[in-house]
């Protein structure tokens, strides 16, 4: 068996087996009981050469309609944004991507410092004191935030806005089952969390209230008003936020959030059919010792030189085992690096400018649709997404759009039965005027 990843020659094998003191490889596996020993080879596809495998998989990928070949108006938590080309050059440096968790700080300063910078940038955007090194994704980060609030308040109920991403809500429900926590949904009204209903539902039993900003419908939630209701009952205020939107919107940290969690996919991370993306998790100083996952801190070495280490590890599974704040171990380090590079490239002015362009382009699309008689429902302030009532059945419209090389928005009827034939339209800075006009034209022509 010769393979480019396997350097052991027959001669090597002979010498090594002899040094070990056995005559065959099989002797090294005699501790596996005979009755469970696997005989022969797996019934899987035979190995392919580099070139033919690349050809096969390139053909397989070509069966997918990709966002670079179509104009996409699909968002709903995963967005097609400008990615500075430098991002991929940085994360392709194999000193980063072939390393693992930086357990040995003396030879991992690169990764540790990059994470420290990531933590800082997330704090800046969210307006929070502390951010961790990353979580799997926005949904699980939000679920961990909800669970943190139950531990912190010793209460066992969560209020969850129905204008939070449906898949995040699903994930929160699964985590809550694990922790024997009850999740109660707060309905939405006119596209935002129904604050009257929230006032009815909140009590001294509620550990945390979870909302999304901008919410799943693209609307800017009235965080100020919600915060007052939440904190009046000493519950924790948990906000899921698109960090790009925070380039233009008042950060939740300034509006009284206790935990802000979300996904940094908007910064340099490809959609990749839904993952891997990059969850982030930010809290106030008060909660620093309750944070799940890795934290990088600054310190000094024996010569007094600045350096970085994994810190406050007494929260983590490898030290605390069953008493840990979370079971998370591997996180999304490489994607946090990608997000850091994108946030660095965009920088102070670029993040703001890009956020504003999203608002402006979405506004242009909304206005143009209006002119064709297609009204945005739940009208009110939005970021880069809004909801429209389609002039025909969703599938009919979406298929028509696809014929024009356009990927339509999200089918809200899939998760909100009352919104059948409503589309959630996302317009990022990448959508050109021509693409928006074509999209509007096609919708206008779809009237039945």
């Amino acid at each position: 068996m010769k393979h480019r990843y396997l350097p052991m020659t027959e001669q090597d094998k002979k010498e090594m087996l002899s040094d070990i003191g056995v005559s065959t490889v099989d002797e090294l596996f005699h501790d596996i009981p005979e009755s469970v020993r696997f005989k022969g080879e797996y019934k899987i596809k035979p190995a392919k050469s580099e070139s033919s495998l690349l050809k096969e998989l390139t053909r397989l990928a070509a069966k997918n309609a990709d966002l670079k070949s179509y104009a996409s108006f699909l968002g709903a938590g995963v967005y097609d944004h400008y990615t500075p080309i430098i991002v991929d050059h940085v994360i392709s440096r194999s000193e980063f991507y072939t390393a693992y968790t930086p357990y040995q700080p003396e030879i991992s300063q690169g990764e540790l410092q990059a994470i420290f910078e990531f933590q800082t940038m997330i704090c800046e955007l969210t307006g929070m004191d502390v951010a961790n090194s990353s979580m799997y994704d926005g949904g699980t980060a939000l679920a961990e935030a909800a669970m943190l609030s139950t531990g912190q308040t010793r209460r066992k109920k969560i209020l969850l806005s129905s204008a939070v991403h449906p898949e995040s809500r699903d994930v929160i429900n699964t985590y809550a089952k694990g922790h024997y926590v009850d999740v109660i949904e707060v309905p939405y009204k006119d596209g935002i969390t129904d604050t009257a209903a929230l006032k009815e539902l909140i009590s001294e039993d509620i550990a945390g209230v979870v909302v999304q900003y901008p919410n799943f419908f693209g609307r800017v939630e009235p965080l100020k008003e919600i915060e007052e209701i939440v904190h009046a009952h000493k519950a924790m205020f948990i906000v899921s936020s698109n960090p790009l939107a925070l380039g233009a919107l008042t950060p939740p940290g300034k509006l009284g959030a206790d935990i802000v969690a979300g996904d940094a996919q908007v910064f340099g991370i490809p959609a990749a059919f839904g993952g891997p993306h990059c969850g982030y998790f930010a809290v106030t100083n008060k909660l620093v010792r309750k944070v799940p996952g890795r934290l990088v801190g600054q310190t000094v070495d024996d010569n007094g030189k600045r350096g970085f280490v994994l810190t406050l590890q007494a929260r983590e599974q490898h030290i605390r085992r069953d008493k840990a704040t979370s079971n998370i171990c591997s996180n999304q380090a490489l994607n946090a690096l990608a997000a850091s590079v994108a946030m660095t490239a965009l920088g102070k002015t670029g993040v703001k400018e890009m956020a504003i362009r999203n608002i402006q382009k979405a506004h242009y699309a909304k206005k143009s649709l209006q002119e064709k008689g297609i009204e945005a429902v739940f009208d009110g302030p939005t970021f880069n997404e809004f909801v429209i009532k389609l002039p025909a059945a969703y599938k009919t419209v979406n298929d028509r759009l696809f014929q024009k090389d356009i990927i339509g928005g999200f089918d809200l009827g899939r998760v909100y039965p009352e919104l059948e034939d409503h589309m959630l339209v996302a317009v990022t800075e990448l959508r050109t005027k021509d693409e928006i006009d074509a999209f509007v034209q096609e919708l206008g022509d779809s009237h039945e």
């Binding site: 052991m8 400008y82 233009a248 079971n327 171990c329 102070k348």
Partner: protein, 485 residues
């Protein structure tokens, strides 16, 4: 700059510089004051860096030089399977049709992605000997929790809600007890015996009608195959519990033993370890979970399925534990793992394990005269040494690890598993050559000699790294977790 030779990106920021090129603005630039209420318009811009593109590239290139990866040198970090990360994986994952597809596109226009996921599931079913696999969990620990949630659902469906305890060996990964807690269980520890294996008598003592599951790594974290696995399965199953396989060490048994044949009911895999994810500096990983037939109905939804040559996402799973992650898992990592499996084929995967096990046994035998070998028997893909002998000379395992840095190596996993004093856990993997192993062995022998003759060289290591040992107590006592101007 005081006492530092590597600036933070914030410290080289200069107002007025930019590193981006936004697409042309071709619609009317309406003022956002006309769209948003004043109180929701950000007043102060986030203090992000202002740097040019070259500034960025130099900064991160400098950081990369301060980082050790598998491509930099040998990385025998036990239980982490730091094997070579094939480059074709990276190319395939970046093809537009895989990298730039949206999870909510019409299934008809993402058939290639669904086909790949389906075929990966099929390959993992064969490799693990299980009956069905979900690709949804994001990493190993996430897979553990997913598996335990399914076991809980199984017991609950049987009206068996008294099963509140999960048994884990004292040598288990920390994630095992942590995952048990997150899934709503209590953890009970079972002891290892003098041979480094689960003590069957102790297992019989702790098992009972409250046992939900036993979580086991096989081979265990000492690199030893639990040869009493069938007796253990019998003990757990006859008590009504389920057997959970932590797949972190699967590199030891490819084509040699399948969890499904050993009696395991649930297994998670770490695709970023055995199947070359890559490790990414600590993720993203991927932690698929395989189950036996009686647990299939509890798998997270959706599951990728096939009918008449068309692939689809099956949401019609009423008894599912629900969703454990948005969308369908870390698809980009699954693409890489699939590429790897297809690059190796059945004979390649068999050679992977054989060579990994030969490498580990070879190193163990050659190092045994110089360090204590707590369990003197054939190991699998990794082995543990104890630095007990060196400790008596005033040289701790931590010192040995730091001294290895001077030779350009990443040290082994240290002080784990917890049941071996001054532990070093060494996993060479199959992708390292004999020459590399020999050079590492020579370095370890030299360090053992230094411990006897010139211990201060080891105690004061590292000598050649960009930074000396760092004050971790200070970091924890006065946490500085972000840059502030």
């Amino acid at each position: 700059m005081n006492n530092q030779d590597q600036s933070l990106i914030f410290e080289i920021s200069t107002p007025g510089r930019i590193g981006f090129s936004l697409p042309e603005m071709d619609v009317e630039a309406v003022s956002i004051e006309d769209i948003l209420p004043a109180e929701y318009i950000r007043e102060e811009a986030a203090e992000l860096p202002e740097v040019s593109e070259l500034d960025i590239m130099r900064h991160y290139t400098a950081l990369s030089h301060r980082n050790h990866g598998v491509d930099s040198g040998f990385y025998p970090l036990g239980s982490c399977t730091m094997k070579y990360n094939p480059k074709i994986n990276e190319n395939v994952a970046r093809i537009n049709g895989f990298a730039h597809i949206h999870p909510y596109q019409d299934e008809a226009v993402v058939q290639g992605a669904l086909e790949l996921m389906y075929d990966l599931q099929e390959h993992l079913i064969e490799i693990t000997g299980m009956d069905q696999v979900t690709l949804q969990p994001a990493a190993g620990a996430h897979g553990e929790w997913t598996g335990l949630m399914m076991i809980r659902a199984f017991h609950e469906a049987n009206g068996d809600s008294a099963r509140t305890k999960v048994i884990v060996p004292d040598s288990a990964h920390g994630t095992n007890p942590a995952s048990a807690t997150v899934a709503g269980f209590e953890t009970v520890t079972v002891k290892s015996n003098e041979y480094g294996l689960v003590d069957l008598e102790d297992l019989k003592r702790v098992v009972g009608p409250d046992t939900a599951a036993l979580m086991l790594t096989n081979p265990n974290t000492l690199g030893l195959f639990e040869e009493n696995i069938l007796e253990m399965a019998e003990i757990i199953h006859s008590a009504g519990g389920k057997l959970y396989y932590d797949g972190a060490n699967l590199n030891a048994v490819l084509s040699k033993a399948r969890p499904g044949d050993m009696g395991f009911d649930v297994v998670h895999l770490n695709l970023h370890k055995t199947f070359t994810g890559p490790h990414g500096g600590g993720g993203p990983g991927s932690g698929p979970v395989g189950v036996k037939s009686e647990l299939i109905r509890f798998l997270p939804k959706p599951l990728v399925a096939e009918k008449d040559g068309t692939f689809f996402l099956d949401y019609d799973r009423p008894e599912s534990i629900g969703r454990v992650k948005p969308y369908y898992g870390n698809f980009g990592i699954n693409v890489r793992a699939y590429t790897y499996i297809r690059s190796m084929g059945p004979d390649g995967l068999k050679a992977v394990t054989e060579n990994a096990v030969i490498n580990a046994n070879y190193m163990m035998r050659r190092l045994a005269p110089f360090y204590d070998l707590p369990f003197d028997r054939h190991c699998k893909h990794e082995f543990v040494l104890s630095g007990k002998r060196q400790k008596k000379l005033g040289v701790r395992t931590l010192d040995i690890a730091k001294r290895l840095l001077d030779f350009g190596y990443h040290p082994p996993t240290i002080y784990f598993p917890l049941n071996v004093e001054e532990c070093m856990m060494i996993e060479p993997t199959e992708t390292e050559s004999k020459e590399t192993l020999d050079a590492f062995i020579e370095a370890m022998i030299q360090i053992a000699k230094e411990a006897e003759e010139t211990p201060e060289i080891v105690q004061e290591a590292p000598h050649t790294t960009v930074i000396k040992r760092l004050d971790e107590t200070l970091a924890a006592r006065k946490p500085v977790l972000r840059y502030q101007a």
